[in-house]
């Protein structure tokens, strides 16, 4: 399936408009993580790709754990480690 992936924080600027269409083999968040890691390894600076293992995935309303199914609407958000306040 294809996911519309949005990037925030330290991942901004890596893709036009801070989003990319990611082709994913499989239907779980773990599959999306694997696909994004592969994409990052080919297209992103090493320092940016190195952030991904610490990134969480989310929909617009909840965190998505690796074993969960990808959102049906195809939207996916990548959340680098947070530091508000």
């Amino acid at each position: 399936m294809q996911a519309d992936v949005q990037l925030f924080g330290a991942l901004r600027g890596l893709e036009p408009g801070d989003r990319l269409l990611l082709e994913i083999t499989g239907h779980t968040v773990a599959d999306a993580r694997k696909a994004l890691m592969a994409h990052a390894g080919e297209h992103w600076p090493a320092a940016a790709a190195a952030i991904l293992p610490a990134c969480a995935f989310a929909s617009s309303s909840m965190l998505l754990r690796d074993a969960m199914a990808l959102p049906e609407d195809g939207g996916l958000v990548v959340l680098p480690p947070v530091n508000g306040g």
Binding site: G9, S61, N83, G84
Partner: protein, 153 residues
């Protein structure tokens, strides 16, 4: 009327209003009102900061703020009014980045609720801080991973 208020405010549209937060959490039945105001400071790790940019994934941040307020009130075990607001965009030195206010019957509950809520905002809300330094460098600050198994620092 809701006893919890959450907001993400673009700096370009105004500044966070601490007085409004105090008004919101005030109540004739509450004797304890506490507030945390987080401001942009001019030094970090010895480097001169000239500004900070906050990036926020607003839909999830508002969901998270609501959950934080509910979790805080449940943990306190007493009625608590809470105001949680965070700024987005470029802020200057002294600008307010975050306001958390709590009102409850007594000071202990109010202090605990405010501390609990601001720590949860800092460690669990989808917000990112980029510091801008006087030498022209800009750096995204390290943070807390929201991945499974990671504990808030």
């Amino acid at each position: 009327m809701s006893t919890h208020h959450y907001r993400v405010l673009d700096r370009a549209n105004g500044a966070l209003d601490a007085a409004a937060a105090l008004d919101f959490v005030s109540d004739p039945g509450f004797g304890g009102i506490t507030m945390f105001v987080g401001k942009v400071r001019e030094l970090n790790h010895g480097r001169q900061v000239v500004g900070v940019s906050y990036d926020i994934f607003e839909p999830l941040a508002l969901v998270r703020f609501a959950a934080i307020a509910a979790e805080t009130e449940k943990a306190i075990g007493q009625p608590v009014k809470l105001w949680i607001a965070h700024a987005r965009g470029r802020l200057g030195i002294g600008d307010i980045a975050v306001v958390v206010a709590a009102g409850s019957k007594h000071r202990d509950e109010a202090f605990r609720a405010c501390r609990m809520a601001i720590e949860a905002v800092k460690h669990t809300a989808p917000i990112w801080k980029q510091e801008h330094f006087s030498d022209g460098d800009s750096v995204w600050s390290e943070g807390c991973s929201l991945c499974e198994g990671h504990q808030p620092r």
